[in-house]
């Protein structure tokens, strides 16, 4: 089956990101295709390139990056939710006159329409809320 995940929680602040990552790994382990993880609401903080969690905590960002690299899972971040929360890529930083950027590659900023397409196109959309 084709799956997509909607993640609404920041790493560490809630357990939602941990649960979503575990679920993503299990979806793939069962032979499904995971098309994308869509980061919305506080979930956009998962893409924070400047986050510096203690070494003895799980490095959630690495988990997402591994999924992208090993299983071609798209990491899509809602641009509107991200900008108001300080997650911004170089192009948007230039547009808004911001001195720096904070979106880790290979996360990409995209519109909410992508979430709707995932919901309609995939067999299952699983939400992890916070």
């Amino acid at each position: 089956m084709r799956y997509a995940i909607l993640l609404l929680g920041a790493p560490y602040s809630s357990q939602a990101a941990h649960s979503a990552l575990r679920f993503a790994q299990a979806v793939i382990a069962r032979g499904h295709r995971l098309e994308a993880v869509f980061f919305y609401a506080d979930g956009v903080h998962n893409a924070a390139s400047l986050a510096t969690p203690p070494q003895d905590e799980p490095q959630i960002v690495d988990g997402w990056v591994d999924l992208q690299r090993d299983h071609d899972v798209r990491l899509e971040v809602c641009i509107a939710a991200a900008l108001r929360r300080g997650i911004i890529d170089a192009a948007e930083a230039a547009r808004h006159g911001k001195d720096g950027h904070s979106l880790a590659p290979p996360f990409t900023l995209t519109g909410l329409g992508q979430l709707i397409d995932l919901g309609v196109d995939c067999d299952r959309l699983i939400t992890f809320g916070a």
Binding site: A41, A80, R84, L112, G113, L115, I116, G119, V120, L125
Partner: protein
């Protein structure tokens, strides 16, 4: 106020967006409404279900916040323009806030628990915010 258990055929749609957060309480409600508006703009048939504190979004007389926060009323006013005309509210939640489906900022159908379950069944995708 008439409460419906059996939602008619016209209720069937592609996407049901459940709104459970109140207005002026962070942007969870706004971000849920935005998802609904974008889905409608992409040509999807969208229904809304207000539940729990989310029914407070329907309260008449809402205003701006003290720091000039505009709240969600302006967004609700856009639903019609986006052809989102299937709006439901959980009757138990309405009662908990002394609200009547007859006197709200937009037209909604009050549904009881059976109606809520039926809305889940007749939409192919359900998103909770």
């Amino acid at each position: 106020m008439t409460v419906t258990t059996s939602v008619d055929e016209g209720a069937a749609g592609e996407l049901l967006v459940i709104l459970r957060h109140g207005p002026h309480s962070g942007i969870a409600l706004k971000e849920g409404l935005d998802a609904a508006l974008v889905a409608a703009a992409f040509g999807r048939r969208v229904s809304l279900l207000f539940m729990g504190s989310g029914v407070a979004a329907l309260m008449p007389g809402q205003g701006k916040g003290p720091l000039d926060q505009k709240g969600t009323l302006p967004t609700l006013d856009m639903l019609e323009m986006y052809d989102i005309d299937r709006c439901y509210a959980d009757s138990a939640s309405l009662e908990a806030l002394d609200m009547s489906a007859d006197a709200l900022v937009i037209d909604v159908t009050a549904v009881d628990s059976g109606g809520v379950a039926q809305l889940m069944a007749c939409h192919s995708l359900v998103m909770t915010f």
